[in-house]
């Protein structure tokens, strides 16, 4: 890529939205949905009926709202949303160690029989969902951060040229 191509590519950012970051953030929501659907539909008797699942439900709602708003923010090259997305991405990793880790391999008594709450297969799935969701959010944040920097520098150059 020539220097001119690179300049044009930067100049295009003045008019083209940051779809890559925005779409990555939406993808992060999608994998989070896969995660909580997998958890909620697999309730074994009343194992999950405690305050942690309540917090989880509220967090999922807040998560979806925050990431959706961030996806709109990064679409318009708003740098601050990068920080928010990066933090939410790290929290997604942390979530692996809360419900999935606790439920994995734990047994509960249902109709007098001992039942494993979360089998290995489901555990692997939810870990992948959360990890992919986190990766998407962090990638979205990084891409937006880099592009915002490039755009700022380009706009400064244009201002310097009196454009």
């Amino acid at each position: 890529m020539t220097a001119e191509d690179r300049t044009i590519q930067r100049d295009r950012m003045r008019f083209i939205k940051n779809s890559l970051s925005s779409n990555l953030a939406i993808l992060g929501i999608l994998f989070d949905v896969f995660y909580f659907v997998s958890i909620y539909k697999s309730d074994v008797d009343t194992y999950y009926y405690n305050y942690i699942i309540g917090v989880s439900i509220v967090y999922n709602l807040v998560f979806m709202l925050a990431v959706f708003l961030s996806s709109e923010g990064v679409k318009n090259y708003k740098k601050n949303y990068s920080y928010l997305l990066a933090v939410i991405g790290v929290v997604q990793i942390a979530r692996i160690f809360i419900i999935p880790m606790q439920a994995h391999g734990t047994t509960t008594i249902v109709n007098g029989e001992s039942v494993v709450v979360m089998q290995d297969g489901q555990f692997m799935r939810v870990v992948v969902y959360l990890a992919v969701s986190a990766a998407c959010l962090v990638a979205s944040a990084v891409v937006n951060f880099i592009r915002c920097g490039e755009l700022e520098a380009h706009l400064k150059t244009l201002a310097g040229q009196g454009a």
Binding site: D5, I8, Q9, D11, R12, R14, F15, I16
Partner: protein
């Protein structure tokens, strides 16, 4: 750019209604041709056939000498600007202008250069991040033109692009189109029913009526030497006055008036002595004089000119409109006399113009 040849083109719809009859036209490279005529005369149908949006029933269409009669619209390398702008409301102006090139999977950097260049030409650079709803009608029409420019087509087709604009904006956008044509030197086909647009924009005008071409010529030719009564009545504002007159010696005798003929006019009408013809006189070719007695029915002062409407002599049915220079203060019912400076003669049966070389 390109040449365009329309050869013996007909349009016959499935219900056997014929909209266009034997249309012939050679458009030169870089020429701006305006098709003008009243609603339903076939001008839009002709343009749609050129664009490939309507099938051509008979005849041939050549672009740069190559037969494109059966070529699909997308492969004709023509861009059309519609009356309704046809912009995507959810896209920004930049995205609207880039859309056709994006569909063709052109290099995004090339698209960017073309869009910026077109925006610069049309003065839209500061509007590129806006949505169509945030722009005025004139700006939206410029965006529609910009979308055509970025494609760099061989031929631009305009289908009444100014009809949705108010009078002031229409005038400004018309001038922009004219400048655009001069700048791009592009071959353009432009449809309008507004004769002012036709006269101001065209290199040549094609005047149509009922699917037939009535006359092809420069704006001056159509204004000064109309081929028939239709063209004479359509071109010019206020429209031409027409009178049934008899050629009698060196005079034209009409109901309630008679006017003398010049030697040249006598020569032109030598084959029509003692015959009825149609006399045409443009309002701007009428001056105050002694030939035609007129009873004034209205007096409209326009500043530099005054439009005087009335009827000839005692007859209420024979009307006359005159565009007199300067300010006049005729009252309704006043009587005066006019003289015709320049006259047009038409055969009463064929309605064709009577020319000096005929007869």
């Amino acid at each position: 750019m390109a040449t365009l040849n329309l050869q013996h083109i007909d349009k016959i719809y499935d219900n056997n209604v014929q909209a266009v009859f034997d249309f012939n036209l050679d458009v030169k490279d870089g020429e701006l041709i305006v098709l003008v005529g009243p609603s339903g005369c076939g001008k839009s149908t002709t343009l749609r056939m050129v664009a490939g949006l309507e099938d051509i029933s008979n005849g041939k269409l050549l672009l740069d000498g190559k037969d494109i009669t059966a070529t699909p619209a997308k492969d004709r390398d023509m861009a059309m600007v519609f009356q309704s702008y046809a912009l995507y409301g959810h896209m920004t102006i930049y995205e609207n202008m880039a859309f056709s090139l994006t569909l063709r999977k052109e290099n995004p950097n090339v698209i960017h250069k073309k869009v910026l260049a077109a925006a610069e030409i049309l003065g839209l650079t500061s509007q590129l991040n806006k949505k169509p709803a945030q722009l005025s009608g004139g700006q939206r029409q410029r965006v529609a033109m910009g979308r055509s420019i970025v494609r760099n087509p061989k031929v631009f087709l305009f289908d009444e692009p100014l009809s949705n604009l108010d009078a002031k904006l229409r005038g400004a956008t018309r001038r922009e189109i004219l400048l655009l044509h001069k700048r791009l030197q592009a071959t353009m086909l432009y449809i309008t029913h507004d004769q002012t647009e036709a006269l101001t924009l065209a290199d040549r005008i094609v005047c149509m009526s009922m699917g037939h071409v009535q006359q092809v010529g420069t704006p001056l030719e159509l204004y000064d030497s109309p081929a028939n009564v239709f063209v004479a009545s359509f071109i010019g504002l206020p429209p031409m006055n027409f009178y049934d007159v008899r050629v009698s010696g060196g005079k034209l005798v009409g109901e309630g008036f008679q006017v003398s003929l010049t030697d040249e006019e006598k020569h032109t009408l030598r084959a029509y002595n003692n015959k009825e013809i149609t006399l045409g006189v443009r309002p701007e070719n009428i001056v105050e004089g002694a030939d035609v007695p007129v009873t004034v029915s209205s007096n409209e002062n326009l500043g530099m000119n005054t439009l005087v409407h009335g009827h000839v002599g005692a007859s209420k049915s024979i009307k006359i409109s005159a565009k007199l220079k300067g300010w006049r203060d005729y009252k309704v019912g006043d009587t005066t006399s006019f003289t015709f400076n320049r006259k047009h003669f038409f055969d009463k049966e064929t309605t064709n113009a009577i020319r000096g070389g005929e007869g």
